[in-house]
């Protein structure tokens, strides 16, 4: 029923505006309130959850701070470190316990491909994407906090652009968010700050599609009434 609402609403004049507005509101709030799961399996967790959460980098300024101990309250899983074969069913279980929408960032060489344990080892899962779908890969061994923020920025961009209540259950393609040369922490945080300020105001009439719909809505309003 809920899935059919966009199809019903869009048939009415101005319904598309409503849907896209709801989309942008939902996406902005999802992207800016990512709650990560407190889940670290190896040394990447020191960079990803502790260094970025501490006061020097301070992930909390960008709406991704509230580290949850319970999977049912979290919607971002940061796979920080190698996943061994004994851990794999538990990771899958944790992922399935998380409520939709849920996002996964794989950080570091180990969770992307197995890292230094890739060859001749009996215990490693060769990349966490063998067991759960991954949205953003952040390479490094371990990645610096800058690289992680870069990946977080990529994920936020993915959420803002990619999702629509018209097409629920559509997953975006995963992206590799490797930090380009010469990007510093200040650049990333400035970009995040700019995006946050930009997203504070949801301007309905801005996108091209909305402009068309606004025009049609105005025409419809101007139409003489068919009532006698």
């Amino acid at each position: 029923m809920v899935d059919n609402i966009p199809g019903i609403v869009e048939n009415f004049p101005g319904g598309s505006i409503l849907v896209t507005t709801i989309d942008s509101i939902i996406n902005a709030s999802r992207a800016n309130s990512l709650w990560p799961l407190g889940f670290g399996t190896k040394c990447c967790a020191i960079e990803m959850l502790m260094a970025t959460g501490a006061s020097h980098q301070d992930i909390s300024r960008f709406g991704a701070e509230v580290v949850r101990g319970s999977t049912r309250q979290a919607d971002l899983m940061i796979v920080a470190g190698a996943i061994v074969r004994k851990m794999a069913p538990r990771v899958r279980l944790l992922y399935e316990q998380m409520a939709e929408p849920r996002y996964v960032i794989a950080t570091g060489a180990c969770s992307i491909c197995g890292g230094p344990f890739q060859y001749n080892s009996y215990h490693i899962v060769h990349g966490v994407d063998e067991i759960i779908p991954v949205d953003v890969y952040v390479p490094g061994c371990p990645p610096r906090p800058e690289a992680f923020f870069w990946g977080l920025l990529a994920l936020q961009r993915l959420i803002k652009e990619g999702e629509s209540i018209r097409r629920p259950d559509i997953r975006r393609k995963p992206v590799m968010a490797s930090l380009p040369q010469g990007i510093t922490m200040d650049d990333i945080q400035g970009e995040m700050r700019r995006l946050l300020e930009e997203q504070n105001v949801v301007n309905v009439a801005e996108s091209a599609e909305n402009k068309i719909w606004t025009k049609r809505l105005k025409e419809w309003m101007r139409k003489p009434s068919s009532k006698p």
Binding site: K86, G114, Q118, Y122
Partner: protein, 154 residues
């Protein structure tokens, strides 16, 4: 007791003990026959009083066809350490348990059994410790193969 005096005293107790080269702690190598009695002397003799089994593991010398059991002993009374190495056959490995001397050895021997497949005589509870119960094979053996293992390309 310093290293030299310790090794001399041990050779007095067990004439079959030989000094083991290539270690950074005092180390001896003894035959597996009489291992339990030898370790009991090391624990109970007031000159040694090795009351703490720091670590117990094994080494796979596949080229020689041997396993080497390694006991790292520490004396909280005297503060000296000793490494005891025991060579056993790789084909039919069997070792006496020392879990009646040091209770921690029970889990350490379970770990060695789990990863090397060395069964211990008279062990009270010899089950796998880390791996799943239905795991086949012993992954720290040098010739272990697994369908999930990736071979390093040459």
């Amino acid at each position: 007791m310093d290293a030299q005096a310790l090794l001399q005293a041990i050779t007095g107790v067990n004439p079959a003990a030989q000094e083991r080269p290539n270690t950074n702690v005092p180390a001896v190598q003894v035959p597996v026959a009489g291992l339990h009695a030898f370790l009991q002397v090391l624990r109970d003799d007031p000159r040694f009083s090795f009351d703490f089994l720091l670590d117990h593991t094994a080494i796979d010398w596949m080229a020689d066809g041997k396993f080497e059991l390694v006991y790292q002993l520490f004396s909280t009374l005297h503060g000296h350490t000793l490494m005891v190495g025991v060579l056993i056959e790789r084909e039919q490995p069997l070792a006496p348990t020392v879990s009646d001397l040091w209770p921690i050895a029970e889990w350490q021997e379970r770990e060695v059994y789990d990863l090397f497949g060395i069964p211990y005589d008279d062990h009270p509870d010899l089950r796998r410790l880390f791996l799943e119960d239905d795991w086949t094979g012993y992954p720290l053996r040098k010739d272990y193969q697994d369908k999930n293992m990736l071979q390093r390309p040459q």
